[in-house]
């Protein structure tokens, strides 16, 4: 019975935070911290307890480490179906971790309406956990849309605006409309899939396992796959659909950026791995070259635009687009190794992007600007912070010894056998990522200083947050085996679905 608690803890915690606001500013923070700590602890406990060699495979009966199912909307065959396998577990643990961090990093940043802020923060995380656990397509969509509203509030009410208050509301609305409209396309695709299944079998169901075996004509499959793909592409974000991301990041409070980059983008990657590929293997195999091309475009486009930014948060935001390009290539390459790499990269990027955004937030609290032309020479003025930024900057350019390196390496290595050219081009993208990462460090921390007055160093809370992320990222870089073991079974399943569909395509391509 732990599964519903994973979702309920954030929701109930959020409500408590709201109610606790009348007893002072500090109480909601502690409640939120406790709730997130509990979520993280529960996730870790499940990790040590469970056996994650079980995961859905094509052909086999569905196997989950933990499962829960109640009838919900019987009229339409919708169940309250939650299940956990290694992939979900890793994502839930990441959510718990970043949840704790986002509560901590807003400790001094958020000073008004603390209770309501934490209500929104925790509800986002509850929705995200729901997305990672839902095994009923309706339920999945339900959670998918549910996390938008609190995120909207977070950006619109506690965000920063450079010029007037208009901008943050515009950014929040843009985020909402992009994701909601694309989400409705996915809903149509879900309904189409259910309809096809109904016409085949005469049974209305939204259950993942049953829909997995739906037979459909190739044209239909391709269209439905596109419906899913567009929804995930917006959140991913894949390049033509990305324009909400820099705006949302630039205006969001630190905790919002941490959640957005750290976990909300991961829900899209998760959705592709869990739903888009297994439900539509043939169409996905056919689509894979386009998807990988989009990934390549994302890598270069994100890197180039990142280099051109003067706002430090926008720089990190564009770098996320670039990194997610690698994840996309890993997902669609059809190699198990690359898929595993994509998982590690997702975790590593979650940690490193979160850390960079936290550092940006700390910088902003001291300088009250995010404009890098106003910075320079900060190394002398702040203790610790520049060094830590340097670490995460080089981590995000893929320095060996950090999780990002493992992820990128596995993706490139795994994809090389089948897609050598994609890998060759993607590798040159790595050069660009070192350019923008180092440029960021150079512009902000080195060079001539604007003033000589020292700024406050990091306090224990701030240093503790970032240092723990350093430790985790290095651990992931040096010993990623537990993560790989946990996700292995899930990735094998996905690889078999896609691989089976890919191999005839490849052999047809190579045959004379």
């Amino acid at each position: 019975m732990t599964l519903p608690w994973l979702i309920l803890i954030p929701f109930l915690g959020g409500l408590l935070c709201w109610l606790a606001e009348r007893f002072g500013q500090a109480l909601p923070r502690w409640i939120a911290l406790a709730a997130m700590g509990l979520l993280l602890a529960l996730g870790l406990w499940l990790w040590t307890q469970g056996d994650y060699s079980l995961a859905p495979h094509p052909g086999d009966p569905q196997a989950w480490a933990l499962e829960l199912r109640y009838p919900w909307i019987a009229r339409l065959g919708i169940d309250l179906h939650l299940a956990l396998d290694g992939l979900s577990l890793l994502m839930v643990v990441l959510t718990g971790l970043l949840g704790v961090l986002s509560v901590l990093c807003s400790w001094s940043e958020i000073q008004h309406h603390v209770g309501f802020f934490h209500l929104n923060l925790l509800w986002i995380l509850g929705g995200v956990v729901g997305v990672f656990l839902a095994m009923d397509l309706f339920l999945f969509f339900f959670f998918w849309e549910m996390m938008l509203v609190p995120m909207y509030f977070l950006i619109a009410l506690w965000g920063h605006s450079q010029t007037s208050r208009k901008t943050r509301i515009t950014a929040a609305t843009k985020f909402f409309i992009y994701t909601q409209a694309s989400g409705l396309l996915m809903l149509i695709a879900i309904l189409g899939l259910v309809l096809v299944h109904y016409l085949n079998t005469g049974r209305v169901t939204f259950d993942y396992a049953q829909l997995l075996v739906t037979d459909m004509p190739p044209g239909t499959e391709y269209l439905l796959m596109l419906g899913f793909f567009v929804a995930f592409a917006v959140k991913f974000p894949i390049v033509p659909f990305h324009s909400w991301l820099p705006d949302a990041h630039a205006q969001a409070p630190t905790a919002g950026s941490v959640d957005l980059a750290g976990i909300l983008l991961k829900t899209a990657a998760y959705g592709m791995i869990r739903f888009a590929l297994p439900l539509f293997p043939n169409a996905s195999a056919e689509f894979a070259p386009i998807a990988m091309a989009l990934g390549l475009i994302g890598i270069f486009y994100g890197a180039l635009l990142s280099f051109a930014q003067s706002d430090i948060k926008r720089l990190v935001a564009y770098s996320s687009i670039s990194h997610m390009g690698f994840v996309l290539i890993g997902i669609y390459s059809g190699s198990q190794l690359a898929l595993q790499g994509a998982i590690v990269l997702m975790l590593a990027h979650g940690i490193s992007a979160a850390a960079l955004f936290i550092l940006c937030g700390q910088l902003y609290e001291r300088l009250h600007t995010r404009d890098m032309t106003q910075m320079g020479g900060l190394w002398k003025r702040i203790a610790w912070l520049p060094a830590l930024s340097l670490f995460f900057a080089v981590a995000s350019l893929g320095l060996p010894g950090t999780g990002n390196f493992i992820g990128e390496f596995l993706v490139l290595f795994g994809a090389f056998a089948r897609q050598p050219w994609v890998v060759v081009i993607a590798t040159t993208g790595l050069v660009l990522s070192s350019v923008y990462s180092l440029a960021m460090v150079h512009r902000a921390y080195y060079g001539p200083s604007r003033s000589d007055t020292p700024l406050a160093g990091l306090n224990a809370r701030e240093a503790g947050m970032v240092l723990s992320l350093v430790v985790l990222l290095v651990l992931l870089g040096i010993y990623p085996q537990p993560v790989l073991d946990t996700s292995l079974a899930s990735m094998q399943g996905v690889q078999q679905w896609l691989g089976a569909a890919l191999s005839p395509l490849l052999s047809a391509g190579s045959a004379p």
């Binding site: 339900f142 909402f176 809903l187």
Partner: protein
């Protein structure tokens, strides 16, 4: 035909509503006591709602050729009665105390009388299966509304709205009558089924097509579908807030219910041109309604435009005809009822007791959350529900319409729905975020602090909770809607 006991039982909701109207009229004639008129109306409406239960036992039943009391009719009667009940409680809060003590300066009791009359018209309408009873019901529904819209007649806007509605609605009725006459000339019957049969056997004739087109114009006016929507924003803005709520819910739901019955019982699709025309109307209503709402700074006008778009969505389910379409209409209308009542309810309470003009400018709602958190939570839920976001009943409604559209493979319409709701999000979110923004020097105009202890407040909270609960666990509503088929 002899009327027997079951017939009277089937007619109970109508009879009780009508009798209450007469009772309230007599009470007013005897002595004007606001409280008694209000309580009598409430009691009558509750009894009418309860009488649906025995009526269900005898349904389906034909009462002469005019009316057919079946599950469909009873379901929509229930919606109409609930809407009226809610509007009556809102009106009570809105009218306030005696003229001298702050409140509505004119006579207050007749408002209930008019609402009851209109509600009995709505019940006739949803159970009619004959063009004559359709017309009687429609007029009984609309004529009291003229009075209601102009109830605050000492205000120019209210009076203007009443005149506008009177003229346009009368024009709509004229079209409707002419259309009926043409249909009768060709089909020789006024029964829905009879018309369908005759068209099935003899095919379509030019007169029939013109007749159907005129019916479409007349009913389109009442539903404010594009291009017959021009009156909507002005009338919504001018009418007192509880009346606007009544107009947006009771009146529209009843008309749509009869359109559904007409469309399904006398398949007018033989001509072949009706579906494309309806599709174009649906697309135009969705796009134009949503686009015009984008820049509104008046909440009542905004809701008016949004209701145009919502009836565009509903038309998709109507066009889909088979499969889950009837259910989709029922679920969507129930969800629409809740969210519209809630949204107008908040406007009513904000404007209560009557202080001259209604609190309908968006800036008056700025930062409301930090002063009246629960009232704001209600309005937030309603906006999310109107936008169709999960956890609210509006999402279930939209979900059902999408199912109906996908099932009938109306891909263009389904895509337009997606585009429309993306546009719609923009203004719903704008309203929502306004509630939470704090600005120094805000203009304060708030409902009394004890608003949740009044009947209107309790009703509003109940609606919000219901909207949330049905959004999370919609099974009961879906079962009801399934039973409300033909």
């Amino acid at each position: 035909m002899n009327l027997t006991l079951p017939h009277f039982i089937a007619l109970l909701p109508l009879l009780i509503t009508g009798a209450t109207a007469i009772l309230v009229m007599l009470l007013i004639a005897w002595q004007r006591i606001h409280r008694i008129a209000y309580l009598a109306s409430l009691l009558g409406l509750v009894l009418a709602l309860l009488s649906l239960i025995p009526a269900l036992e005898v349904a389906p039943l034909e009462i002469t050729t005019l009316m057919r009391v079946d599950r469909l009719g009873l379901f929509y009667s229930a919606l109409v009665l609930i809407a009226t009940l809610a509007c009556v409680t809102l009106a009570h809060a809105y009218l306030g105390r005696k003229p001298g003590e702050g409140g509505f300066p004119g006579n207050r009791e007749e408002l209930y009388l008019l609402m009851l009359l209109s509600a009995s018209g709505a019940i006739v309408l949803v159970t009619s299966q004959h063009l004559a009873s359709l017309f009687i019901g429609l007029e009984l529904l609309s004529v009291p509304v003229y009075g209601l819209v102009g109830y605050a007649f000492f205000h120019r806007q209210s009076l203007e709205a009443a005149l506008k509605y009177l003229v346009l609605s009368a024009a709509g009725s004229a079209f409707l009558l002419f259309g009926m006459a043409l249909l009768y000339a060709e089909a020789g019957s006024l029964e829905f089924i009879g018309i369908g049969l005759s068209m099935g056997t003899f095919g379509s004739a030019p007169l029939v097509e013109v007749g159907i087109a005129m019916l479409l114009v007349g009913l389109g006016f009442k539903l404010s579908l594009v291009p017959f929507h021009l009156w909507t924003p002005d009338v919504y803005q001018g009418a007192p807030a509880p009346v606007a709520a009544f107009l947006a819910t009771t009146s529209k739901i009843a008309v749509f219910a009869v359109v559904l019955r007409l469309y399904q019982m006398s398949p007018a699709t033989y001509g072949g041109w009706l579906t494309p025309v309806l599709s174009v109307i649906a697309i135009a209503s969705i796009l134009i309604g949503n686009l015009l709402a984008l820049n509104q700074s008046n909440l009542k006008r905004l809701l008016g435009y949004s209701s145009i778009a919502h009836f565009g969505y509903l038309l998709i389910a109507l066009i889909a005809t088979d499969g889950l379409a009837t259910e989709a209409v029922a679920v969507y209308l129930a969800a629409y009822l809740l969210s519209t009542l809630g949204a107008f309810g908040v406007v009513s309470l904000m404007s209560s007791p009557f202080k001259g003009r209604d609190a309908d400018a968006l800036f008056e709602y700025r930062g409301l959350f930090w002063r009246r958190p629960y009232l704001t939570a209600v309005l937030t839920v309603m906006m999310l529900s109107l936008a169709g976001i999960p956890l609210t009943s509006g999402f279930i409604g939209k979900f059902y319409v999408l199912i109906a559209g996908v099932q009938a493979q109306l891909w263009t319409l389904v895509i337009v729905l997606v585009v429309g709701s993306a546009i719609g999000l923009y203004y719903y979110l704008r309203v929502m975020v306004t509630l939470y923004l704090v600005e120094p020097g805000m203009k304060r105009r708030d409902p009394p602090i004890n608003w949740p202890q009044r009947a209107g407040g309790i009703m509003l909270l109940a609606i919000a909770v219901l909207s949330f609960v049905l959004g999370v666990y919609p099974q009961p509503l879906l079962v009801l809607a399934q039973a409300a088929g033909f």
